[in-house]
Symmetry: C2
Subunit: 106 residues, 2 copies
Amino acid sequence: MRRDVFQAIADPTRRAIIALIALQAMTPNAMAEHFDSSRQAVSKHLRILTECQLVQQEQSGREIYYHLNPKKLKEVADFIEPYRKMWDKKFNQLDHVLSTLKNKKS
Amino acid sequence: MRRDVFQAIADPTRRAIIALIALQAMTPNAMAEHFDSSRQAVSKHLRILTECQLVQQEQSGREIYYHLNPKKLKEVADFIEPYRKMWDKKFNQLDHVLSTLKNKKS
DNA sequence: TATATTTGCAACCAGTTGGTTTCATTTAAT
DNA sequence: ATTAAATGAAACCAACTGGTTGCAAATATA
């Protein structure tokens, strides 16, 4: 079974979960209250997010707090990066500014 | 049927197609030669990529050249952006440099 | 005109997905 | 000790996925 970050963020509920726990680690029950889906559905999403290491568990008594592991999103960023200069004018300007700075230094 | 960019880039073959036509617009036949999958399979992927506007068609006789529409990837970039500062030291440094530049200007 | 090439589309198929309901386990509270 | 709460896992289901084969339409070539 394929379990990669791209497949994980393909689902809108999982993206919402990511956005939610980015602000604060949270238990499955707390998350479920933010969505229409049941706690068990959230639990299944969390399993997928855990399997591809996008989130990490922290046990606290009978509760489990889920933390976001933002580093994993770098894989997606790395995929997109080569195409950024094809749409982002700002990026090109930045790129110019930085290379200019670099040249001044050396 | 959900047809968004996130779902489109979830498939590794489609990401490969994106990488391929980023360099040069290409016909389905030409693409299929780069992969194990059949021309029809590539065609189905192209349909999905077209439906979410990640690629654009350019008819030329009986051939159809598919171009990448990189702007659409901005949706993914926008999703990731808020989390970048959570992993990317460079980003923070850049951010600092830029705000410094801005302050000097004003 | 007859033939070959390029392409998209429909039908089919096994495997996956996202959801539900039910159940067992662990831990806290009474 | 009993009850309540929090969680994960299994079984089930309809819908979707990614692949295949076969076919039809449009265009180029002989």
